[in-house]
Amino acid sequence: MAKILLEMKNIVKEFPGVKALDNVNLKVEEGEIHALVGENGAGKSTLMNVLSGIYPYGTYSGDIVYDGEVCQFNKIKDSEEKGIVIIHQELALIPYMTIGENMFLGNERGKKSAIDWNETYREADKYLKMVGLQESSKVLIKDIGTGKQQLVEIAKALAKHAKLLILDEPTSSLNESDSKALLDLMLKFKEEGMTSIIISHKLNEVSYVADKITVIRDGSTIETIDNPDRKIPEDRIIRGMVGREITDRFPKRPDVKIGDVKMEVKDWTVYHPQYEGRKVVDGVNMYVRRGEVVGISGLMGAGRTELAMSIFGKSYGKDIQGTLLLDGKETNLKTIKDAIKAKIAYVTEDRKGNGLVLSNPIKINTTLANLDSISNKMVIDKDKEYQVAEEYRQKLKTKCPSVEQNVGNLSGGNQQKVLLAKWMFADPDILILDEPTRGIDVGAKYEIYCIINDLAAAGKSVIMISSELPEVLGMSDRIYVMNEGQIVGELSKEEASQEKIMSCILKSGRGE
């Protein structure tokens, strides 16, 4: 049996209110390719952040044994010195610098006082050859494609004398042939003795490249599957990923009659605002009825948020094409204000970044999207404002000393309630909720689910975007599955299951 290069024992990592990792164990042998798979939020990236020292020693419990010794990493530099190099999903390259400059950023060649540029570019070219990238190291990063940028990241890792290479979703933004080339490169490194960990959603790739596959679910390791002949069926992996029961984590839906079609989009296509010609949403057809909760499932980056924001007064994207029908009438919503007037609300997934003004009190946040309704010719009626904020505080059971409290001082769950209050006060008929329970604890989640049910019972149309499969299954009357900008499946409540959703995504990913 080969030597164990890395062993992570009983790792527990808690965030306020959430146990992100719960007794995770991982063993990686020297010279193997080890895959980590699991749903979004299962804890894969958290685990790798613990390993690389992004979460310093002491903020988690458990042991990391690497190369025979117990390690306590306090920062990324510590783990890199040992040869553990992580390549994140979001590439960390600086566009207006050359390949060479990027590769040795923070790891500069030459003396302390001055960088030796000749040495830098000579070394850079050497490593570029190792990864098979035929570009001069003096080319700017912005001038090469994503596939090549990914190779630069790997060359950068090699330049740090990596012994254990961690790739987080390395192929998520690559096309078929670039992905294949990257996986073959990993296999080539393996023959040269490199150990790698790959995190991926693309199970066909995992099955193609990995010697062993560890499944993580809800912050715990479920199983490690051997894959000696690289032919493990994807169903086998999926079973491990989703084998969880949906218990009563979801409130019962009151029996509501679902009404007519309230909103419908046809052939909806949206282009990326920066990258010319890149379709982010591609020919989407969908509808939502009155009193219905429609879930949109899919992996991160599937285009769900972009779809929602483009419907919401074209707040995202370029060259938006397609028709939007409200109550069967074709409508063109040019601005966010139009959308709000048409009684659509979009509750963002990023409540701190896009949703709330953290430095302002609850009452100001509650009324922001509908300030005119409590104003008389631009003069705000502050009494009314206070009453409204107070009313929603009680209705949603927001825990806070008073509505004068700054939103920044609230917990995530209560912030989410303020965000919901803000949009409920805007009095919409259609609510698009983007990841409404992200980063909040189980109790607050249940309360948010109750609010969603109440909204549907009141005849509102709810579109719920969520990456958590149990949530989508537990809450929705109907589910759309999105992948790579397209709707790749529509499932009724009865036929939907975690396996079905996953297989919709995975099948479409392979271009079948």
Partner: protein, 389 residues
């Protein structure tokens, strides 16, 4: 006890202002406390209050500033003086032309910043250079001395001098009367405001707290009224400043548009996604700045009774300092007109006091720099403490 520290923390700058004033009164042997100096404090600093009001609106949107306003004062002053003195136009026409220039420039600046996303400090740096040059060029083309004078009497009467003027040293009754009326209004507002709050069942100040607040405010108003009454009456500039300050206090605290200035500074994207036209607000901030700069120019030209090529030098810095010392966040999203007034007055008092003490002008600048830095550090440390508690 906790309440007391809370009050002190909320009003730190105000307390510092009082202490600094007392300090200069003592070191100047009471000179600081004379009628003459109260008058000087207002007439010398009126332009700062108006420019800083405009700057406040810009800064609220995210710490954005206008570097060009000082140079613009010089330029608009030069154009106005040329119209009135060289070309012999009537005063109202000249005033309209100056305002027109302000609106046109404000629209261009607002467009560049709000719709073309040019960083404000760069867009206004261009104006900082260009308007100083352009203004000076107009002045030297129309005058051998580099300044155009004399400004017509009717212009001076609107923007300088005193209302119901009497000779210095004689008690000016109208001035005192205005002080009494203003005091009565303040007290009435305090009482009715508190009653209204109690009636609706909201938390309100105790009777004692309200009384203390009213007594202190009345004392300050009456002190100024009394002192100014012996300096010849109400300075016209004080009327202009008061009107503008009241208008902007209302806008920032009571109106929807004022609210949006704050929320954009707090989180521009969240505000945009709430259906607010954030670009329009940015545009308005700079249009407003340009118009207030023109009004400030009126006061400056009237005070010097001439348009000079050096007029407005460093005014942009005075306005920014007043805001920052007055607790307006350099990152945007928080600050008030009242805070700005305290900041501007504090700097004005320091200027005046040091001049009276005969401190060298170069060292005055050093002191002002230190005060500015101290105010920012204080603000940030204070906020940090508050948020960790």
């Amino acid at each position: 006890m906790k309440k007391a520290t809370n009050i002190i923390r909320k009003n730190t700058m105000l307390i510092i202002l009082v202490l600094v004033f007392l300090f200069f009164t003592i070191t100047t042997g009471g000179m600081m406390f004379t009628s003459l100096q109260f008058n000087a404090l207002i007439t010398q600093n009126s332009y700062v209050y108006i420019l800083a009001t405009g700057m406040l609106m810009c800064m609220l949107t995210g710490g954005n500033i206008d570097l060009a306003c000082g140079s613009f004062v010089c330029f608009v002053g030069a154009v106005g003086a040329k119209c009135m003195v060289t070309d012999g136009m009537s005063t109202p026409v000249a005033i309209l032309i100056m305002l027109g220039i302000g609106i046109v420039y404000g629209c261009i600046l607002g467009f560049l910043i709000a719709y073309l996303n040019i960083p404000p400090w760069i867009a206004t740096l261009a104006g900082f250079l260009a308007f100083r040059g352009w203004g000076t060029a107009i002045l030297s083309a129309n005058s051998s001395t580099g300044s155009i004078a004399p400004i017509p009497k009717d212009f001076l009467a609107i923007f300088s001098g005193k209302l119901f003027e009497t000779a210095p040293g004689i008690l000016n009754i109208p001035c005192l009367l205005v002080g009494i009326i203003a005091s009565a209004i303040v007290v009435a507002i305090n009482i009715t405001g508190r009653n209204a709050k109690l009636k609706k069942g909201y938390a309100a100040d105790s009777v004692a707290a309200m009384s203390v607040k009213s007594v202190l405010t009345v004392a300050v108003i009456m002190l100024f009224a009394y002192k100014l009454a012996y300096a010849g009456g109400i300075p016209t500039t004080l009327v202009w400043v008061t009107v503008i300050v009241l208008i902007y206090t209302f806008i920032t605290s009571k109106t929807t548009i004022g609210r949006y200035f704050y929320t954009i500074g707090g989180n521009a994207e969240a505000t945009r996604l709430s259906g607010v036209d954030t670009k329009k607000i940015m545009f308005l901030a700079y249009l407003n700045m340009a118009v207030l700069t023109v009004i400030s120019t009126f006061l400056v030209v009237a005070r010097f009774q001439a348009a000079n090529s050096t007029a407005g030098t460093n005014y942009e810095m005075d306005a920014i300092s007043a805001c920052v010392v007055g607790g307006v966040s350099a990152y945007g999203g928080s600050g008030s007109v009242f805070g700005m007034i305290v900041g501007a007055t504090l700097i004005g008092v320091i200027n005046l006091g040091m001049s009276l003490m005969g401190i060298d002008a170069n060292w005055q600048k050093v002191v002002k720099g230190v005060v500015l830095l101290g105010a920012v550090v204080f603000e940030i440390v204070n906020n940090k403490n508050k948020s960790t508690k």
